[in-house]
Every structure is written in structure tokens, then in C-alpha cells.
């Protein structure tokens, strides 16, 4: 990036609230239903139907607002936002215009700076309001038209609008990660981007450093992952700087991110000036939120990611990095806590979860909460390591077997005879054989090549099929060589 410029970035995030039924109708919200089957006459905008607000959606919105330090409205209303589109069944979206449920707030993000230090920034939240989702249009593979599915129409959304406080793609990424973690902790949304329950649009502009006025912004849509957000913003910053440097002006427009080509493109359809003709929805009454309700919701807010990270660092002795990884996904953090609740060593548990367990789960695309090796089972494996029953190396072989067979580590170790050899006599015999067979290595060691011992340890381990306790092997060899 050209050092003369800085980017000004604002994010609009839509999250689907975790309710059973839609925002204004009793239609179900579960993902993956047959087209147009999660519908009622209400969410399909059938003539004559009327909306009634889902109380749980409002409470979830307030909960999110509290966690984002927002000013909670004492009084709110819903407005109609008008535009014509086949996925919008009433030709208006019920949204909130000038009296949103959540006013100004903030979100703290953490980033590593270039020196590896920790940078903490506070990003302002402009507002977070309730609105209903539109349906979905399908174009792929249909030559003569588009298809409309209203399953999403009327889904409860919270639109969280950030202030243009974000300066870099990395900050945008950190903002999204932090926001997602908070919302998952609150159980306000499952934030599943693939299922569309979290969507993000980015507003990006550039200006010369020191300039206080904003440059012309573009809005980027079709961002399918946090990585895509980061890449698209970077692309857009570079594109805009190039335009400005070339003496041209950035055009205010909506652009679509193409993940395959890694580029943004202007939308083909000519955009008209929007005139949404907002007015208060006469079908819905205003709502007031009293202090007791807010306090009650406040009480229901669980420990949030920032606090949990601190606790993992302090109480479990984890590094900030390890703690953040575990906390970043609430269910991963829960899994970790379940493992250490059995008395397992927390650092060992953290390492095993982050390296071995996640490697297998990621490879098989299994979410942590569905892991066939549950927290108890992993704890069992770790306890065998802690008790020196098996070595870490053996344990790495045992874990996949646990996945395959569903058996506990203990059973597998017993069945396969993998119990670690701690019998020093046996190890000494093998060590003697190894030393005798490798006179050159022994000579090297004696000549001062300390690392030669590693080779010898490896030979002993090989002879014992990995079952010897490496610590004891090391001790015995060192003793014999000295």
C-alpha cells in the first residue's frame, strides 16, 4: 500500500438472530428446508396479512446491544423501507429507520503489530437495528429466468453498522472475528456464514494521510468469508489508490467481490438513486424497553471472549495466542474447559486440542461440538501421557485409532500393547546393542557432536517400537556415553 494514503473502512454486518420462528410470523427458521416450505402467508407478504413482533428477537437484539456497549433505546419503532425486487414480497422491508433498538456502542479489537506486540483498538458501533431478511434468488443454470425462494424472507436480522473507524484489512478481519465470537458467546446468532446467518458488506474509501474529509466510498458486497472481506478490502484500497494516483476520481458505486478472480467488479445493473420512502409501519405499534427488562437481559449475559481469554491466561497459564485460539470459537473453548475439568494439564490439553485434535477434525470437516472423540475421551488420552503410561509419540498414533474405533485411549493402549516401557533394565539392554552397532556415532559424540545422541535415542525408540519412555532412554544413553 502506498504510504501516503490511509483507508477508511466501515462494515455492515447482518446476523440472523437465533430464534425458532421468524421476526414477524410463526414460520420456522431452520436452515436447509425445501424451497418455499418455511413460509406462512405473512412472511410471503400475502395480501391482507399482518406482522406481529417476535419478542425473543427483540430480547436477543438488546442482548447483543448490551454486549456491544450500545445505548439501548427506551422507545423504538419499525419503519417500512420500500424498493421493488422479486425477493422482497411486500415491496418493502420492515426495518428500523430513526429509532433503532441499539444506538451508539463500541467493540474492542486486538491485533498483533509488525513487531509482534499487541495492539488494542476500539471500533465505534453506529447502531444495531432489527429488520427482516429478504428471500433468495437463484440464477445458476437457469437460462430463461430467475427462481425465488422465500424461506429466508422474514428471518430476524440484526444489522450492526460500524463507524468508519477501521483502517486496514487486518483490522476489518479482527473486528469480524471479535464480533462473531461475542455473538456466539451470547448465543444471539450461530454466525454461520455458509448458511447465510452472518453476512458482511464493506464500505471502503481512501484519503491522503492527514486529510480529515472522507474520500468517495464504494460498497463491496458478495463477501463470503472473513478472508474474502480482508482480501476484497485490500484489493479495493489498491484499486482506489491507483485511480486517485492516476488523477481520476473514484465512482461511488456498489461492487461485487469475485473470490475466484480475487477482484471487485462494478454491478452491471444500473443503479438508480435510492429513495426508500421510509415511514413508520402502521401495522406495528411502538415498543418501550424498561430498565428491569434491560437489567434482566444484562444478567443473562455470559462471560464474554475478552474475559475468558484473560482467565485462560491467568488461571491456565496459556499464552495469549493459545488462549485466543481456544476462546475464538466458543465451542472450542467449552471443549477445552471440559477437558481440563477432569484434571488434565491445561497446557498439554491446549496443545493437544490445537494441534492433533483440530488437525483431524479439520481434515474431516467435523465441527468441534460433534467431535467423535469427546472431551472426556481426550482427557483420558492426556491422562495416559501424564501418567507416563504412553509417550506423546504413541499418543499421536492412538488418537486416530480413537476416531476410528470409538474406543477409549486406555482400551486401545491395552489391546495394542502400547504401554510405555519404563523398565530400565530392558532399555539398558537395547541401549547397549545400539551403542555397539553404531561406533561411529558414539565416536562423533565423544568428539563433541552433542546432537549425535538424538540419533541414538531414535534408534532405541525404533528398536522398542516407540514404546520406550524417551526421557528414560535419554538418561540412560547420556549416562552410558559419559
Amino acid at each position: 500500500m502506498n504510504q501516503k494514503y490511509e483507508a477508511v473502512i466501515g462494515l455492515e454486518v447482518h446476523v440472523q438472530l437465533a430464534t425458532q420462528s421468524k421476526l414477524f410470523s410463526g414460520a420456522p427458521t431452520h436452515f436447509g428446508a425445501e424451497p418455499n416450505s418455511n413460509t406462512t402467508p405473512i412472511c410471503m407478504g400475502w395480501p391482507g396479512t399482518l406482522p406481529v413482533l417476535n419478542e425473543a428477537a427483540l430480547k436477543l437484539a438488546i442482548k447483543a446491544g448490551l454486549a456491544l456497549n450500545c445505548r439501548i433505546a427506551e422507545r423504538l419503532k419499525f419503519d417500512r423501507k420500500h424498493y421493488f425486487y422479486p425477493d422482497l414480497p411486500k415491496a418493502y422491508q420492515i426495518s428500523q429507520y430513526d429509532m433503532p433498538v441499539n444506538g451508539k456502542g463500541s467493540l474492542t479489537i486486538e491485533l498483533e503489530d509488525e513487531q509482534g506486540g499487541l495492539q488494542i483498538r476500539e471500533i465505534g458501533i453506529t447502531r444495531a437495528h432489527l429488520e427482516e431478511d429478504a428471500g433468495k434468488l437463484l440464477h445458476e443454470g437457469i437460462k430463461d429466468g430467475s427462481l425465488v425462494d422465500y424461506n429466508r424472507a422474514g428471518m430476524p436480522l440484526l444489522e450492526i453498522v460500524s463507524e468508519p473507524d477501521i483502517r486496514t484489512p487486518a483490522e476489518a478481519y479482527a473486528y469480524l472475528t471479535a464480533l462473531k465470537a461475542i455473538l456466539q458467546y451470547l448465543e444471539v446468532s450461530d454466525c454461520n456464514m455458509e448458511e447465510g446467518s452472518l453476512r458482511c458488506d464493506a464500505n471502503v474509501s481512501v484519503r491522503l494521510i492527514g486529510e480529515t474529509k472522507f474520500g468517495t466510498k464504494t460498497e463491496i458486497k458478495n463477501l463470503n468469508s472473513f478472508k474474502a472481506v480482508q482480501k476484497a478490502i485490500q484489493y479495493e484500497i489498491d484499486r482506489q489508490i491507483e485511480i486517485v494516483e492516476g488523477g481520476d476520481r473514484v465512482v461511488q458505486e456498489t461492487r461485487l467481490w469475485n473470490d475466484v478472480k480475487s477482484q471487485t467488479f462494478a454491478m452491471r445493473s444500473k443503479e438508480e438513486a435510492h429513495d426508500y420512502r421510509y415511514f413508520p409501519d402502521p401495522d406495528l405499534v411502538p415498543f418501550t424497553i424498561d430498565r428491569e427488562t434491560v437489567e434482566e437481559i444484562q444478567k443473562s449475559i455470559p462471560e464474554l471472549p475478552a474475559a475468558r481469554t484473560q482467565r485462560f491466561m491467568k488461571e491456565c497459564g496459556l499464552s495469549r495466542y493459545d488462549a485466543s485460539v481456544l476462546v475464538g470459537d466458543k465451542k472450542l473453548g467449552d471443549y477445552f474447559e471440559a477437558v481440563i475439568a477432569t484434571g488434565a494439564d491445561s497446557k498439554l490439553a491446549s496443545n493437544w486440542i490445537q494441534s492433533e485434535l483440530l488437525a483431524i477434525l479439520n481434515e474431516r470437516k467435523i465441527p468441534i461440538e460433534n467431535s467423535p472423540v469427546g472431551a472426556d475421551a481426550l482427557a483420558g488420552l492426556i491422562s495416559l501421557i501424564q501418567k507416563n503410561t504412553i509417550s506423546g509419540k504413541i499418543a499421536k498414533d492412538v488418537l486416530p485409532m480413537m476416531f476410528e474405533t470409538g474406543k477409549t485411549a486406555e482400551v486401545i493402549v491395552k489391546e495394542k500393547g502400547l504401554v510405555q516401557v519404563t523398565d530400565t533394565k530392558l532399555i539398558e539392554e537395547v541401549a547397549d546393542r545400539v551403542l555397539a552397532a553404531n561406533p561411529k556415532v558414539v565416536a562423533d559424540f565423544r568428539a563433541g557432536k552433542g546432537q549425535a545422541v538424538g540419533f541414538l535415542v531414535g534408534q532405541v525408540m525404533k528398536e522398542t517400537k516407540g514404546k520406550a519412555n524417551p526421557k528414560i532412554v535419554n538418561e540412560i544413553l547420556t549416562q552410558k556415553l559419559s
Binding site: P41, M44, G45, W46, P47, G48, T49, L50, P51, V52, L53, R80, H82, F84, P86, P89, K90, A91, Y92, S146, V148, D275, R277, Y278, F279, P282, D283, L284, V285
Partner: protein, 480 residues
């Protein structure tokens, strides 16, 4: 007796059906509709072979004994084409029942015939229907009023024992006046709007059009009440309106608003309405002059706020999901042409006006200003109802006018000047016949009451009706 069964009032029909069965009543109506409807076009859809009744699996009270009620074509009936008399909803079959339909069926009522109307209830003459205009049974050269002109004409010509209409700015009361029947617009929130295809959401109410006041009370017993499906429906206990009927207006304070007795009010109508006030006075009511100072602004407020809501409510008629769609290859053309071909001129006029008053740069000057003046009008009523229990006025400034007479939209709009204020304030109002003009057209008397005091309205109307015993009948009825 059997030959004249169609002449029965709703109350009489229910009694007859209880003692005998509803079948002869249905037969009588079938014949009556076949004979009369071609002359006046009040019934838009009518399937003599199909009577809609409650699902036999549901618990149904026998209250209405299978007696049918005619329904304005903007109230949704599951599985039955409902068009708002518009081309754009041709072929629109609602997948659900409106709340009032469920209530009628649950009370043992049946449905039989859907009534013609002004397209989307936009009009005061029932001339804007896409399916042909409705004629007044008293004089087929005249309009029946609107927008519930079909409902009023059907009841007046004995093609229905009773009908449901909807009233946004007078659409029940004005046609009731023009056709010489009783029409009640309930308090906003008294009857569920769920399933009423919306025009002006903050004004619309469904109400009865009946042959007499007792029938209106009976139908109100069926349709009134809180509905959790309608956020604006109010949870106030519903009295037994029929039981509340008695001939007693003693001590009732009735106000005549100065602003309603103005230039433009037909002399014969003024005389008849003032006579009605005298009659009530003679029966013990206290009559006084009151002020509703913002009455002159009510039409302007209404034609901002109601059309704004209408323009929003009618956006959904786009050809995507139901009804008519113009055949185009381009999406935007589909919208433009569907709405061009699907809407009539008055619907277009109101959608454009409503779109304009909400559009960027004009919202404050029009829509917001309108809503503020609406507040002043509500305050006028609140103040008036501190002094009086009821407000009495003509329902319309003239009797039924000639078909094709009002070509200027503004003059048509101004004919609603006496009915619109009740909608702006959300108060209940009833129109009932109080006389006949020298040309043989009925005159309507309007009574307005406090919120949720339909009982008082009905009692005063009942007392008056019993006292004057009007005998005249519409021409097609006597001829028919």
C-alpha cells in the same frame, strides 16, 4: 312466506334457519341474485353450487345457523378468488381465511357471494371496479356509493341478508347512506384487520352493512374482538351488542358539529338530519352545537396519509407471486407493465400521490405535516367527547349522485368530507337511513361515538330507527 325468504333481515333469517334449516334461505338468495344482480352488478362472484362453511373438524357455535353473509371482495377467503375488484388480482386465490371469515364460520355462518367494490376500495361510487360498475337499487342511473357499494347494494336489494364491508374514509357509511341501509364502521382496533387487503392501514376497519340496526349489532357480536394476529387490534372486552339494544336515549348528550352544516350540504339532507336531531331530542336526548374546528382539513390529511399507506400496501402487487403478470422478458418491464395494465386509473392516481408524499424531500412537508394535522383532528374529537356522548351529522353532503357525474377526482374526494374525520380519529360511526329525498333517494344519518362505545351508537340508532319506521324500499326491490 317461502317465496319472500330473501326479504328477511339477518336476525329473522337466523331465527328461521334455527326453526327450519338454512337450505330454503340459500335457495331464495340464489334465485334472487340470479334475478336482480344482472341489473346492478353488486355481487362479483357467486357460486350457487358452493357454500363455504366451517371445517367440520372445528368447533362451531350454532349462532348463525348456517345463514350466509356476503363479503366485500377485499376480505380473504381461503381457496376462493379475491380480487379487490382489480385486474391485478385476477386469479388471486388466498391461501388463508381472514380473521372475520374465521369468526363467521366459527359462529355457524356461511359465505355466499363476494361483493363488488371500487378497485382496492379507492372510490366513493363503485365506478372504478375492473369488473364493471355497481348500480344503485333505488335508481339504477345512480351510483350506490363506495367503496363498499356492492355490499350496500346487495343488502338493499335483498340479495344478501347482511354483508361485510370495509371503511377507510367512509366506505361502509357512505354507500349505506346512498342505498338506504345501516352501515357501521367500528372503532379502529375493534375488529381484526387480518385478512383485509389493506388500503390505509391506520384507518381500515371491517364492519357490517345490514337491513337494520339489530342486524348490525348481531354481526358485530360475531366479528368484534381482539386478535393476536393484528398488532393494532385492541384488547377491550366486547359487550353483547344485541343485548345492549334498547329504546332509550334519555339524557344522552348529542352534538351537532358546526363545521358539518356548511355550504355544499344539500338542503333536503340538512333538513332531514336536523329533523332526526329533533326526533332524538323529543325522545329525551340533549342536543347541542359543538365544534370540530379542523374538519375542513380532514380530506387533505386523508389524501396524504391514507394514500401514502396505500402506495406502500400496493407495492406487493408486482406479478411475482399471485394475480396478474404482464408477459415480459425483462424484470423491470415486468413490474412496469404489470402495474400499468393491472391497475385502473384511480389506483394509479393514489399510488402516485402516495409515492410522492413519501418521497425524499417531500416527506416532511406532506406526510409528516398530514400526520400532525391528524393529531389536531383527534384532539378536536377528544375535546368534543368531553361535552357530548355522540356526534350527529349527515353521512354525505348529497344523496346518491348520477353514474358518471363526478369526473373530477377532487370533487369525488370531497364527497367523503363527513365520513373521513371518524377514520382520522379512529372513532366508531354508524350510518342509518333517516329519510328519502324528493327524488326518491335515501338519506343517511351519521352518528359518531367515543372509542369502543359502539354500544351507545347502536342504542341511539336503534331508538331512532324504531321511532321513525321508514317504509320506503328501493325500486328494484319492489319491482324485483
Amino acid at each position: 312466506m317461502t317465496d319472500d325468504l330473501y326479504k328477511l333481515t339477518l336476525t329473522e333469517a337466523v331465527r328461521f334457519a334455527g326453526e327450519n334449516s338454512a337450505a330454503p334461505l340459500l335457495d331464495a338468495l340464489r334465485d334472487r341474485v340470479a334475478a336482480v344482480n344482472p341489473k346492478i352488478n353488486a355481487i362479483l362472484r357467486f357460486d350457487p353450487k358452493r357454500v363455504i362453511q366451517a371445517d367440520p373438524r372445528e368447533t362451531v357455535s350454532t349462532g348463525l345457523n348456517g345463514v350466509p353473509v356476503a363479503i366485500k371482495d377485499n376480505i380473504c377467503i381461503d381457496g376462493v378468488e379475491t380480487t379487490c375488484a382489480s385486474k391485478i388480482l385476477k386469479g388471486h386465490i388466498p391461501p388463508y381465511h381472514a380473521a372475520v371469515i374465521q369468526k363467521i364460520l366459527a359462529s355457524g355462518g356461511t359465505l355466499f357471494g363476494q361483493c363488488n367494490m371500487d378497485e382496492f376500495a379507492f372510490g366513493s361510487s363503485s365506478e372504478t371496479s375492473a369488473y364493471g360498475l355497481v348500480r344503485n337499487p333505488w335508481n339504477t342511473e345512480c351510483v350506490p356509493g363506495g367503496s363498499s357499494g356492492g355490499s350496500a347494494a346487495a343488502v338493499a336489494s335483498d340479495m344478501a341478508f347482511a354483508a361485510l364491508g370495509s371503511d377507510t374514509g367512509g366506505s361502509i357509511r357512505q354507500p349505506a347512506a346512498f342505498c338506504g341501509v345501516v352501515g357501521l364502521k367500528p372503532t379502529y382496533g375493534r375488529v381484526s384487520r387480518y385478512g383485509l387487503i389493506a388500503f390505509g392501514s391506520s384507518f381500515d376497519q371491517i364492519g357490517p352493512l345490514t337491513k337494520n340496526v339489530e342486524d348490525a349489532a348481531l354481526l358485530m357480536n360475531v366479528i368484534a374482538g381482539h386478535d393476536p394476529m393484528d398488532s393494532t387490534s385492541v384488547n377491550v372486552p366486547v359487550p353483547d351488542y344485541v343485548k345492549g339494544l334498547k329504546r332509550d336515549v334519555k339524557g344522552l348528550r348529542i352534538g351537532l358539529p358546526e363545521e358539518f352544516f356548511i355550504e355544499g350540504l344539500d338542503g333536503e339532507i340538512e333538513k332531514s338530519v336536523r329533523q332526526a336531531a329533533e326526533t332524538l331530542k323529543r325522545l329525551g336526548a340533549e342536543i347541542k352545537t359543538i365544534q370540530l374546528p379542523h374538519t375542513p382539513q380532514s380530506v387533505a390529511v386523508y389524501y396524504i396519509v391514507a394514500v401514502a399507506e396505500a402506495s406502500s400496501n400496493l407495492g406487493r402487487f408486482d406479478g411475482v407471486r399471485y394475480g396478474f403478470r404482464a408477459d415480459t422478458r425483462d424484470l423491470k418491464d415486468m413490474y412496469l407493465q404489470t402495474r400499468e395494465q393491472g391497475f385502473g386509473a384511480e389506483a394509479k392516481r393514489r399510488i402516485l400521490l402516495g409515492t410522492f408524499v413519501l418521497s425524499s424531500g417531500y416527506y416532511d412537508a406532506y406526510y409528516l405535516k398530514g400526520q400532525k394535522v391528524r393529531t389536531l383532528i383527534r384532539h378536536d374529537f377528544a375535546k368534543a367527547f368531553e361535552e357530548v356522548d355522540l356526534i350527529l351529522s349527515p353521512t354525505a353532503p348529497t344523496a346518491a349522485f348520477k353514474i358518471g357525474e363526478k369526473t373530477d377526482p377532487l370533487s369525488m374526494y370531497l364527497s367523503d368530507i363527513f365520513t373521513i374525520p371518524a377514520n382520522l380519529a379512529g372513532v366508531p360511526a354508524i350510518s342509518l337511513p333517516c329519510g328519502v329525498t324528493s327524488e326518491g333517494l335515501p338519506i343517511g344519518l351519521q352518528l359518531m361515538g367515543r372509542h369502543f362505545e359502539e354500544e351507545t351508537l347502536l342504542r341511539a340508532a336503534y331508538t331512532f330507527e324504531k321511532e321513525i319506521q321508514l317504509k320506503q324500499k328501493p325500486q328494484v326491490v319492489s319491482a324485483g
